[in-house]
């Protein structure tokens, strides 16, 4: 190889490299601004997670509906994964049919509120017969009854600075949704399952249902909903406790 070729190659490679880096930096800014970077974007698996989440948010509709099924297709058994918390508080609330339980709604909202189970049940009820798959591989179809989360969000008035909805549960777990999934028509706060009150095993008194994501996103035993503009200062900063156990924050896959 002659020096001439090497020098020319060096310059073009250098320019291409610089352009590539600048492009990446700009892409990262744009992606963050349009909400395409998931909170668990760090670490060795961050690239795959970011590509999953960004691609889906760019290419797919915010409003696509998860498949709904006929009553005849409802699974005979609704498997239980994760038992109710064995705390004194939960036992006391449960023994009293959750009469003393409240759902707190706070954060970036115009009117912070706290609702009793009866107040939530008096909101417009919706039902959905949807398929829920666990990340482990098993799945079932069930009918869920509850109020769309969007109704509660509209009731308290969400600030336009809010970007995520964080949910907290009585078993000390917590998770979060971006606004497209929080306002999605099939994202419910459910209190009924297959025509009955939801059982403690399935998440009483109130369970989140996120039809376009895997089962672990449908958080059980809810106690609080909080609106935030960033997840960086919430808990571990990864949007959920799931990434600490290896499960991605975005479970739409």
């Amino acid at each position: 190889m002659s020096n001439l070729v090497t020098r020319r190659k060096l310059i073009t490679t250098g320019l291409a490299g610089a352009a590539g880096l600048a492009g990446l930096a700009v892409a990262e800014r744009v992606a963050d601004r349009y909400g395409l970077i998931p909170p668990d974007c760090g670490g060795i698996w961050g690239m795959g997670e970011t590509l999953n989440y960004a691609t889906q948010r760019v290419l797919m509709s915010y409003h696509s509906m998860a498949r709904e099924f006929a009553r005849s297709e409802i699974s005979k058994v609704v498997p239980v994964s994760g038992r109710p918390p064995k705390t004194e508080l939960y036992e006391r609330l449960s023994n009293d049919s959750f009469k003393d339980w409240r759902l707190k709604v706070d954060g970036l909202v115009a009117h912070p509120a706290s609702f009793s189970l009866d107040e939530i049940k008096s909101m417009p009820m919706r039902s959905q017969i949807t398929h829920q798959a666990c990340e482990e591989g098993w799945s079932f179809i069930a009918e869920w009854h509850g109020v769309p989360l969007s109704h509660v969000l509209n009731t308290v008035g969400v600030s336009n600075r809010a970007r995520y909805v964080v949910v907290y549960a009585l078993d000390d777990t917590w998770d979060s949704l971006d606004l497209p999934d929080a306002y999605h028509a099939q994202t419910f706060l459910t209190y009924g399952l297959n025509g009955d009150e939801i059982s403690n095993d399935h998440g009483a008194p109130l369970r989140l249902r996120v039809a376009r994501q895997l089962g672990y996103k449908s958080v059980k035993f809810l106690s609080r909903v909080s609106l935030v503009d960033s997840l960086k200062n919430v808990g571990n900063g990864k949007g959920s406790i799931s990434p600490d156990f290896g499960y991605s924050w975005y479970a739409g896959i």
């Binding site: 190889m1 002659s2 001439l4 070729v5 060795i44 698996w45 690239m47 795959g48 997670e49 590509l51 999953n52 889906q56 797919m60 509709s61 696509s64 509906m65 998860a66 498949r67 099924f69 297709e73 699974s75 005979k76 058994v77 498997p79 398929h131 798959a133 666990c134 990340e135 482990e136 591989g137 098993w138 799945s139 079932f140 179809i141 039809a211 376009r212 994501q213 895997l214 156990f245 290896g246 499960y247 991605s248 739409g252 896959i253």
Partner: protein, 241 residues
Amino acid sequence: MAGSTYIPELAEGRATEAREAARHGLVVRATHWIFTLSFFGLVVSGFGIILAHPHFYWGETGGIGTKPLFSLPLPTMLGGPSGWGRYMHFQSAWIAVLAGLLYVVSGVLLRHFRDEFLPSKAELTWSSLCGSLLEHLRFTRPTQDESYNVLQRLSYLGVVFVLFPMTILSGFAMSPSITSVFPWTVEVFGGHQTARTVHFFLSDLLLLFLIAHVAMVILAGFGSRMRAMILGRAAAGKEPR
């Protein structure tokens, strides 16, 4: 190629020579090894995910209360393997799909598939196919005058254009958000659990192909084939062309 003076005619002559001797172009070689690594990641993580629930079903749903189609004799391991398995599976899948796309696009543009993999009509007769199969069964060493025999051509095309796309599609069919936008991805399989079972069998077929592929490479001369896939040229002299 270590000359310090630059003589265009000479350099061009050498380049033509190199092109003639080259078995695999740069894109093929680079994507081959990137793909190898990511495929390894997919297999390891896929196995890890199965460990969380080594039971397979047919239809839409399956789990406790459903009779499995079959179960693998594996311990059920919750937590770890399916967790990092998922992160690793999607990361590997992205790398595999991007490298695969680059390979397919360059292969189509450079007529790699048409020239080297598309069998001629004469090769697609029963006698030609049986002849090639017999040669394989008798472990006849391939002659070097043709690049790939008809069975090789068909299996490479099948893996690239049928098995991999079907595996990706059955993966899409398990995604609750992708199926909300494209319900047909799961409907063509007849249900979520069927797609999962099909995904498992397609992956097994890909693994079988990998085993056959490596076995053939070893039979055909491991050193020279590895050299060809890494450096682009088969060892001169060892392999008459």
